[in-house]
Amino acid sequence: MKEIIAIIRPRKMGATRVALEELGFPSQTALGVLGRGKQRGLAGEVDVEIPPEVLERGRTGGMKYVPKRLLTLVVHDGDVETVVRAIVKVNQSGQIGDGKIFVSPIDDALRVRTRETGGNALV
């Protein structure tokens, strides 16, 4: 089993969920988070016109963190590539701030209702 952690734009959440549902991965956990990447947060992330004199002052005036949605789903080893590709396809806009995806190993899972463990506990 692998855990896929995707940090994406909040606005793309609906489209991502629909795309994953179509592929057969309806179960997921979503969190509202604040984050930043290599660009140290962005002033251009919000749809507000920034006066040129502010831009001249450099990045110091920008937003420190950008609101994002953190999406977690646990899938079988073989499905990792499909899910990652689907998330990339839906969320790719070409602009900085599209997000990151991390894949890490998961040792075990337990479904509380039926006490199934391991791969059976997934969908």
Binding site: I5, L34, R36, S93, F102, V103, S104, P105
Partner: protein, 105 residues
């Protein structure tokens, strides 16, 4: 790659992130969380608080940088009293940038 989850005091979160940024670890995610440790929350007068607000700082770095980040977090989040927080390190097999679709940090 390793994922480092540092659960620190909310008021120390900015000190930690600024320190990390200075050392070159700019990318991170900040999550407000509630939790408790061995002390089972805190009792102030007659009121017992089961869970305390904390901030989780989530950062993924290359294996060789783990030690430096841990040292930084420990130094910046330290006050010496209970509730300074915990740091967990877990493996990450791969990372992808959504904009370009390429692998790697």
């Amino acid at each position: 790659m390793k994922m480092i989850r540092a659960i620190v005091r909310p008021e120390a979160a900015d000190v930690v992130t600024d320190g990390l940024a200075e050392a070159g670890f700019v990318s991170l995610t900040k999550i407000p969380v509630f939790g408790r440790g061995k002390q089972k929350g805190i009792t102030v007068g007659a009121t017992h608080y089961d869970e305390l607000p904390k901030t989780m700082i989530l950062i993924v770095v290359e294996d060789k940088s783990v030690e430096e980040v841990l040292k930084l977090v420990q130094f910046k989040a330290y006050t010496g009293s209970f509730g300074d927080g915990k740091v967990f390190v877990s493996p990450v097999e791969s990372a992808f940038t959504v904009r370009t679709g390429t692998a790697g940090l």
